[in-house]
């Protein structure tokens, strides 16, 4: 007998069903264009899990995504749509690499790492503080300002690499040299246990931050204030909260996390900076990870891992199954679309539940009718 209520499990069922529907849609697209979906998905999984190295790379990819997703979720909790994650992560990336190049060889590792992380986090926080302040004190739409900031930061980063960063740090035009070992998040040990992957400290920092952000949002006054401003800014004001301060703080925290994503991307995944032609993908993917994860820490962890498997596995699809890699991004976008229209999923689940209830009621009444 059906005992549990679907609607009570929306928090878990909606993302799971969205993922399933995303994969089904991906399969349909593959079939339309004459590819074998089973081969396609098999190629994806085989590529992602082919060796200790590829498994290491899953965590390499997941690290920055967890940070940008956490950044997005903190801003969302306060009621803001931070589309500026790509720019904030970019700021963290270039700032940390630049400083890392300057100190990576001369300063001992613990100190060097602390400095590059602080610099990257501050750069991200600063990039987010601008839209936060404008929103708090001028009610300027943070959506528009962060979109515009993404482009400004993109061009500024190119300018910095081409014209400002000292010649001795540049390897070829548009690409910096690799940072010294002391400013790198990679370690011999992590690389050796994962078959020579780029596995680095980033994923461990990410796990720590998942717990920290959970603690911040659920167990501290600030977290409570952020959530209540997000739920009802006016009521929070009447309750005596300084909503402007909270708006700015939540954006700063959001940007700091995105900046840290950039640090991990720069000093862990790549080890250098190279000029970008468009907004950073970890920004928009982080947004998607957060939406799929429902903004919770455990949800973000799981969806970041799922995205990493998709992204890495997708790279093997052209060779092994002839399916273009871009299909993965189509699947990701459609998963988020289904999360976005969760109203429909909840509606259908409710309908199924009501039908079951009706059945139960008619059965019960039949039994009772028989008795009397």
């Amino acid at each position: 007998m059906f005992r549990f209520k679907f609607s009570k499990m929306n928090g878990i069922l909606v993302p799971i069903l969205s993922v399933v529907m995303g994969f089904i849609l991906g399969a349909i697209i593959m079939m339309i264009f004459g590819y074998n979906p089973i081969l396609g998905y098999k190629a994806m999984l085989d590529t992602a899990f082919q060796s200790p190295k590829s498994i290491g790379e899953i965590f390499v990819t997941a690290g920055p995504l967890i940070f940008t997703a956490l950044g997005f979720s903190v801003a969302s909790a306060a009621g803001f749509f931070n589309i500026g994650l790509p720019g904030q992560a970019l700021a963290g990336w270039i700032a940390s690499v630049w400083v890392g190049l300057a100190i990576g060889e001369s300063v001992p590792k613990p100190i060097a790492l602390t400095i590059v992380i602080v610099v990257g986090v501050l750069a991200g926080a600063l990039a987010a503080a601008i839209p936060g302040i404008l929103r708090a004190y001028n009610e300027t739409s943070e959506v528009i300002v962060t979109i515009m900031m993404n482009y400004i930061l993109l061009y500024v980063s190119t300018h910095l690499v081409n014209n400002v960063i000292p010649e001795q740090f540049i390897s070829t035009k548009g690409t910096t040299k690799m940072v010294g070992a002391n400013a790198s998040l990679r370690t011999e040990f992590l690389s050796s246990i994962s078959g020579g992957s780029r596995l680095n400290l980033g994923i461990f920092f990410a796990l720590i931050c998942l717990v920290l952000v959970w603690f911040l949002m659920k167990k501290t006054t600030l977290g409570y204030e952020i959530t209540s401003v997000g739920l009802n800014p006016l009521a929070s004001k009447y309750a005596g909260m300084n909503s402007n301060r909270i708006i700015v703080l939540s954006m700063v925290i959001s940007g700091a996390l995105a900046g840290m994503g950039g640090v991990v991307y720069g000093l862990g995944t790549f080890g250098n900076f190279f000029i970008q032609s468009s907004s950073l993908s970890i920004g928009f993917d982080g947004m998607a990870v957060s939406l799929l994860g429902g903004g919770t820490s455990i949800g973000i962890l799981l969806s970041a891992l799922l995205f990493s498997i998709l992204k890495l596995g997708g790279q093997g699809m052209p060779l092994r199954a002839g399916v273009p890699t871009e299909l993965v991004d189509v699947i990701i976008a459609s998963i988020i679309f289904f999360v976005g229209i969760s109203y429909l999923i909840k509606f259908i689940l409710k309908k199924i539940e009501d039908k079951n209830k009706e059945k139960k009621v008619t059965q019960v009444s039949k039994v009772e009718g028989g008795k009397s």
Partner: protein
Amino acid sequence: MGADTMSTIASIITQTLVYSTPLVFTALGGTFSERGGVVNVGLEGIMVMGAFSSVVFNLTFASTFGVWTPWLALLVGGFVGMLLSVLHAVATINLRADHIISGTVINMLAPALAIFLVKVLYGKGQTDQVVETFGYWKVPGLSKIPFIGPLLFEKTSAPAFVAILFAIIAWFVIYKTRFGLRLRSVGENPQAADTLGINVYGMKYAGVLISGFLGGIGGAVFAQTISGRFAITTISGQGFISMAAMIFGKWNPLGAMGAALFFGFAQNLSIVGDSLPIISSIPKVYLESAPYALTIIVLVLFFGRSKGPKAIGKTYIKSK
């Protein structure tokens, strides 16, 4: 004025028009959508699909339709843009999705889908260069006017004039017709509009679909005048700039057109600036960032609290 200076100015005007045209179309599209209360952050993605489909059409039918190919490709781009916008309309109007999330999904989906299809169709990551482009156009008659003729009408862009015409028509539609009045009322106060018997959902659909059509045309114009082919970097930010132009223009089609012309000028300057005196001494980063920075500054200085249509971004749920 020397002949050299004249031709330099004429070419700046022409190039400004060329770079503005896609922005004008797309910004007009955004205006229709937002006047009906639906935020359309997905314009960038819509432009991508417009650009992609027009290039595919152009490559396939260039030999059949000859010089008319790019014009027909505009319609194809508009139609495909409209198809994509249906997704946004259904999600935001019927399924209560957050407008920004739905728009962002469109921006994620469009480039991936377009490149996927390019690889399926052509077996490589980008298309070939199209042969039939809009090229330059001499306005019959007007080009004979002394001084102004050579500057504005001698060697210019035909789609630009269509875009300007569209802006005027859009202004007329939004402010002078029954449809426009209804669309605006739905964006301002859907409850009241509903009470008056206006089909709120229908009007919102109309707004979003028009935005898809015009956004698709915007992408198609860009592909067939500026890039000449389709690749992942073909549309890079024009959709967002168009949104900015719409806000700059205070959700008024003529204002949006003016802002789009200005942004087109700024984009053009950052590209050809190197060959111009004075401008070439300004670091490129300032010219490139200028439209975006200006948008923020104008928003902060002139708008502040006053935003677009009142009920924008809110899902209207008809109470029974």
